[in-house]
């Protein structure tokens, strides 16, 4: 019966017990258990990508009124497996003048930076990985390693397009890290801890997306920008950068960037589900841990579905539009949100939780409305200026110093 309620936890306990019986010293048992856990989780995550690629291609196909993969295996399920086998046998082409060490290190680091995120994410009540007391910051910090891998790739390739693509990508990533970090402050404020497990436990009653929808929205948009997907896929920008930082890569080295991208897309959905959608929380998840895992996966796939929907339906931003969205909308909004939430939380502290949540919710909606309103006003003014310039009345032209475009 124990096995049915919590199969993963059961296997872990059985494995640790079995290691102990072998007569190893306890510190070795600990290391062995951790090593096995890491191996299983990392392998599982890498193999999971095969399924993700199929899911995404199928979904994009449906969005674009196509079938998607449907030849290999039932519903085309084996298509990514076939693709993987093919890419395994492709030649590595190293461009002349490439910086060998950085060139080869980049794809490895790209995958490692994404895999490492899985080490602190709690998958159910009993399977928590590593309950770090700075878990949320760790998740953001590891993103920095990913940025480093793009720089290595762009610089090591000895190619102008790769270099430009890499630097443009890194500029995008670091810019969107600002609202990401700032909006991550709000769940920390509500939960009173940086530990990811603690944040999940704090959402027992109310999911943070209910208490802070604006923060969730900012976090979600910034997360999509962090994985560099449409509408933020300027790195790919085939028409201007050919393919960005990974242009000189071939064979499985390119495949590793591909794996990293897909896994990252799923992992940020997992992080979003953990931080804002209550993680494994749900009816009966405490008693039957495996149910919590199922809840988490369902939530994650809902979020992942939305990111794929974005990818399939939205056109690509221009780079100045993307930067404007980040620096002139998301960053000021998250700054205002932190200040407002802090004050409202401080004032309503004595009230029951219900009223507190209502207060938070109102502040969030108010700020979202204000941001929307200001954006509309700015847009209207811009249109007016453009019109004035076109008709040549020239009175307003001096105020267009920071106009658009190169």
């Amino acid at each position: 019966m124990d096995f049915l309620r919590d199969p993963i936890g059961f296997v872990i306990q059985w494995y640790v017990g079995w290691l102990g019986e072998l007569g190893l010293p306890s510190s070795w048992v600990d290391v062995m258990a951790k090593l096995t856990g890491a191996l299983v989780l990392a392998t599982g995550a890498m193999l999971f990508v095969v399924f993700l690629i199929w899911y995404e291609r199928k979904l994009i196909g449906r969005i674009q009124d196509r079938f998607g993969p449907n030849r290999v295996g039932p519903w085309g399920l084996l298509q990514p497996v076939a693709d993987m086998l093919k890419i395994f046998t492709k030649e590595y082409i190293t461009p002349i003048g490439a910086d060998k060490i950085t060139y080869n290190l980049a794809p490895i680091l790209a995958v490692a930076a994404v895999l490492l995120l899985w080490s602190v994410l709690p998958l159910s009540v009993t399977v928590v990985g590593s309950d770090l007391n700075v878990g949320l910051l760790f998740l953001i910090a590891i993103g920095g390693l990913g940025e480093m891998s793009y720089i290595l790739a762009g610089w090591g390739s000895n190619n102008k397009y790769a270099l430009l693509g890499a630097f443009r990508l890194v500029a995008q990533l670091i810019s969107y890290e600002v609202p990401l970090v700032l909006s991550a402050l709000i769940p920390v404020m509500l939960a009173g801890t940086l530990s990811v497990t603690g944040i999940v436990q704090a959402q027992q009653g109310v999911w943070f997306i209910v208490a802070a929808p604006a923060a969730a929205l900012i976090f979600f948009i910034a997360s999509i920008a962090e994985i560099g997907r449409s509408p933020f896929d300027l790195i790919e920008a085939e028409s201007e950068l050919v393919a960005g930082y990974n242009i000189e890569y071939s064979g499985l080295k390119f495949g590793m960037f591909f794996v990293a991208e897909f896994l990252h897309a799923f992992t940020v959905s997992l992080i979003f589900a953990t931080v804002f959608l209550g993680g494994w929380q749900g009816p009966g998840a405490e008693e039957i841990p495996v149910l919590g895992f199922v809840y988490l996966m369902v939530k994650t796939f809902v979020v992942y579905f939305v990111t794929v929907l974005f990818r399939g339906t939205l056109p690509r931003f221009r780079i100045d539009q993307m930067m404007n969205l980040n620096w002139k909308v998301l960053t000021p909004l998250s700054l205002a949100l932190i200040i407002a939430m802090a004050i409202v939380g401080g004032v309503t502290r004595e009230l029951p939780v219900f009223w507190q949540v209502i207060g938070f919710l109102l502040v969030n909606l108010l700020l979202l409305w204000a941001a929307d309103h200001l954006m509309r006003l700015a847009q209207r003014r811009k249109t007016k200026i453009n019109l004035a310039m076109q008709t040549g009345s020239g009175v307003l032209t001096t105020s267009t110093k920071h106009g658009t475009g190169e």
């Binding site: 002349i96 080490s119 009173g192 590793m256 401080g346």
Partner: protein, 118 residues
């Protein structure tokens, strides 16, 4: 605490070794037939002109700098956010003041046009 970090350290080793070994294995399986044309820098068939390590524009630097300032600021606020529920109202306002001071700098950057991409 250290046990948690041990797991992350082991995980980091595994995460680095796994793609490395996969790439190595694929290297044994794949053909190796290099030739100068194939290995030349890919620029859509056009010959490369000049050095490939080009200079970037200053705006990258400006954005990195603004990012750094905000990163440090957020880091300083994280302990405050952790302790938030135990803080009296004036301490919460101190955190808000911290943010407001920075908002002034942000406004300056905005007005000065440092946040424009051209």
């Amino acid at each position: 605490m250290l046990g948690n970090w041990l797991y992350i350290g082991i995980f980091a080793l595994v995460a680095l070794l796994m793609p490395a070994i996969t790439i190595l294995i694929a290297g044994f399986l794949s053909p190796k037939r290099p030739d100068p044309i194939k290995n030349s820098t890919y620029e859509c068939g056009v010959e490369t002109v000049g050095p490939n390590w080009t200079q970037i524009k200053i705006q990258y630097y400006v954005f990195a700098l603004v990012f750094l300032i905000f990163d440090v600021e957020a880091i300083l606020l994280f302990p405050w956010a952790v302790a938030y529920q135990f803080l009296p109202l004036y301490a919460i306002l101190e955190g808000a003041l911290f943010l407001l001071i920075l908002a002034v700098g942000f406004l300056y950057a905005w007005r000065k046009g440092a946040l424009e991409w051209f």
